[in-house]
């Protein structure tokens, strides 16, 4: 069964939060992209930023499938999306074995060879990409994108930045 397991948007004051869960099959990545694109457009991001965020989230999910689940399709990916006045936050969780962020480091750009760009795109396109080291089961990656002109002046560490 390759369809999304479930998706929900919460009502009332929490209507800017939604969560979508898919199985760890790359055929389903386009569903995550569609949701991210839709939510980012409605949050007021520029078309270029919408594209960028969509690439970043899709790359993060692809990394989970390839590197955490090692191309197994029987796992899950849960993407929670929060739309806030100044930013969007994306929380991507899985139940795969822990991945060391340094193990998926991007390649130097002057090395023209296939691969090694996914993490680079994530870090370049998002304002923050942080692994939650305290997440007990699996991996939790938190990605943040600010609306232009509303970036936090209290910038935190970007643990996957290199």
């Amino acid at each position: 069964m390759l369809a999304p397991l479930w998706a929900e948007g919460r009502s009332g004051s929490d209507s800017k939060r939604m969560k979508i869960v898919i199985s760890s099959h790359p055929r389903l990545l386009h569903i995550l992209r569609g949701v991210v694109t839709y939510r980012a457009q409605h949050a007021g991001f520029t078309p270029a930023d919408v594209d960028s965020m969509t690439v970043a989230i899709s790359e993060a999910a692809a990394n989970v499938i390839r590197h955490a689940y090692k191309d197994r399709h029987d796992g899950f990916l849960a993407l929670e999306i929060l739309t806030l006045p100044d930013r969007m936050e994306f929380i991507l969780e899985d139940s795969a074995p822990k991945v060391q962020p340094e193990a998926i480091r991007s390649r130097p750009l002057d090395e023209i060879r296939p691969g090694g760009l996914g993490t680079f795109f994530m870090n370049s396109y998002m304002d923050k990409c942080t692994f939650d080291e305290h997440f007990a089961k699996g991996n939790r990656l938190i990605m943040v994108k600010y609306l232009r002109g509303k970036a936090s002046t209290n910038d935190e560490s970007r643990s996957t930045k290199h």
Binding site: P26, R33, V55, S58, I112, L117
Partner: protein, 119 residues
């Protein structure tokens, strides 16, 4: 994603339609690398209908670029959309590939593109 090949004189044009991502890039990879190995002197990828491309798709194009240098195949891309232009530029690959704005320009210039596989 759909991949179709047209032959125009000595040029093979790969028409890609849809998303080129972790799931679908293998289809493009097989077509691209098989064409390179077939001895055809010029290969173009028509990106006009590529709605999305990720690092897997970029890796496929880079692999094609590398093989084109071995097989001495002229290799280029044309009609890139915003997403493809953005990721190639960010990865500093926009100056590595031979990139044309249209099929007409690509067909005119690809046989003279040197060295093989772009810059």
């Amino acid at each position: 994603m759909k991949v179709e090949v047209r032959n125009i004189n000595q040029v093979s044009v790969i028409d890609c339609t849809g998303d080129v991502d972790l799931y679908s890039s293998t289809t493009l990879r097989e077509t691209l690398l098989n064409l390179m190995r077939s001895g055809i002197p010029n290969v173009l990828v028509n990106m006009a209908d590529v709605t999305y491309i990720d690092s897997s798709g970029i890796a496929t194009l880079v692999e094609g670029l590398q093989l084109s240098r071995q097989t001495k195949t002229h290799f280029g891309l044309y009609a890139l959309r915003r997403n493809a232009k953005s990721v190639l530029a960010l990865a500093r690959l926009d100056k590595v590939f031979a990139i044309f704005s249209s099929e007409q320009e690509a067909l005119e210039k690809i046989p003279t593109t040197l060295p093989f596989g772009g810059l």
